[in-house]
Symmetry: C2
C-alpha cells in the first residue's frame, strides 16, 4: 500500500515549546517520524515522506530509501493532491507524530474495510486514513474526524473506523509524553528517556517530569 506520511518541517511540534527548545523539538519530531516510517514498512506499506521542506541529506539515516515529496502548501492541499485519482487506487495517510504506531496497529488500519478507513485521534482529529475512492477529499481544519465522515457521507462513500489507542495518540503536548514513555517501544520513547523525562504520579494522576 502507498502510504503518505505528512511532516511539518518548519518549527515542528510548536506546542512542546514550553518543555523542549527548537533543536530538541526537531530531534524528537524526527525520532517519531522514523518510528512511523519503520512501522509503515513493517506493516507492508511503501512510505512517502510528504514534507514542507527538503530534508538535509545528512539528516536522518532512518529515511534511507524513503521517497520524499516536498510540498509547502497547507496540509489539506498537499494531502489532497496525493489521494487516489482514479478507481482501483488506494492511498493511506499516516501522520508522522504517531509515536505509538506499531506494525500491528497499522495492519489493522490497512485491513479496515470501506471506501475510507479512519483512525480517529483524541480530540476529534484524523490521525490516519486509508482512501480507496477518488471522490474523497480531506479537510484537516478543526474537528476533522467529523468533517471526514461528513465528506464521505456526502459522496455516498462507506466508512470504516479502526479502534486503536496507539493510532489515536498523536503527540502534541507535554501530557502526551506519558503515553510515549508508558507504551512506546522505539526511538521516540528512548529520546524522551535520554532527555530526562520520566513518568511521575502526583495526586493520583500521571504526568511527566524532566530531571535537571
Amino acid at each position: 500500500m502507498q502510504v503518505v506520511v505528512p511532516y511539518a518541517a518548519r518549527d515542528p511540534k510548536s506546542r512542546l515549546a514550553d518543555v523542549l527548545d527548537a533543536d530538541e523539538r526537531r530531534a524528537f519530531a524526527r525520532a517519531m517520524r522514523a518510528d512511523v516510517v519503520d512501522a509503515v514498512r513493517a506493516a507492508g506499506g511503501t512510505p512517502t515522506l510528504l514534507t514542507t521542506a527538503p530534508p538535509e541529506s545528512s539528516e536522518d539515516p532512518a529515511l534511507d530509501g524513503v521517497a520524499v515529496a516536498v510540498d509547502d502548501r497547507p496540509l489539506t492541499d498537499a494531502v489532497d493532491d496525493a489521494l487516489p485519482e482514479g478507481p482501483g487506487e488506494t492511498v493511506a495517510v499516516v501522520m508522522a507524530d504517531l509515536a505509538l504506531a506499531t506494525p500491528e496497529s497499522l495492519t489493522r488500519l490497512f485491513e479496515t474495510t470501506g471506501d475510507v478507513a479512519i483512525a480517529p485521534g483524541r480530540g476529534g482529529g484524523t490521525n490516519a486514513l486509508v482512501v480507496r475512492h477518488p471522490d474523497f477529499r480531506v479537510d484537516y481544519h478543526g474537528a476533522s474526524y467529523r468533517d471526514h465522515r461528513r465528506i464521505a457521507a456526502d459522496a455516498s462513500l462507506s466508512v470504516g473506523v479502526v479502534d486503536s489507542m496507539r493510532l489515536a495518540t498523536d503527540v502534541d503536548e507535554p501530557v502526551d509524553f506519558a503515553e510515549v514513555l508508558l507504551h512506546g517501544e522505539r526511538r521516540a520513547r528512548d529520546w524522551l528517556a535520554d532527555a530526562g523525562f520520566e513518568v511521575v504520579v502526583r495526586e493520583g494522576r500521571v504526568g511527566v517530569r524532566r530531571s535537571e
Copy 2:
C-alpha cells in the same frame, strides 16, 4: 465470562464538578454505567455491579437483572476480593465510566490471550482487565498500568494488551466529553447532548461548550 463493573456511588465523577452539579454528575455516571452494563451483556459477559453503596430500588431500570455486590472499601481491596481464587476461573473487571465501550471492543478484550489481559487507559490507568490466574492482584493507585504489568511479571504471568481507543477512554474531566459526543452511541452521549453540551472548535483545537 464473569464481569465485575466497579462503581463509586458516593460523589461520583467529582472532577466534573466545574461543569455538572452533584445531581447531574450522578445521572451522567448512571448513564455511562448503563451503557457499560449493556455492552458487557451484548459481548456475552455476565455483569456484576460492584458498588460502594446499595442502589435505590427505583434507581435504574438498566440494572434490572444485574447482580449487585456492595463493598465500601477502596477500589483495590474490593476488586481484589472478586478476582479468581483458583485455577480455571476467569474474571473480567470493566470500569463503569467507559462511555465508549462497545460489544466489539469488549469482545476484543475478552478474546485477548494471557494470564492477564489489560486495556490501558489514557494517562497510565487500567480501564479494563481479564484475569485468568489466581496469583494476580490489582493495585489501582497511581500509574496502575505499569504496576499491573509489574505485578504480573513478578508472578511470572503472561500479559496481553488490547489496543482500543474506546476502552482507553474513561470519562473523568470535561475535556473527555468531546470523545463521548464524537464517538458515543448511546445513553451517555444522549445525556450530554440533552444537557446542552456540544463540540466546538477553538483555535484549531476541539473542546466542548454548554448552551445556556
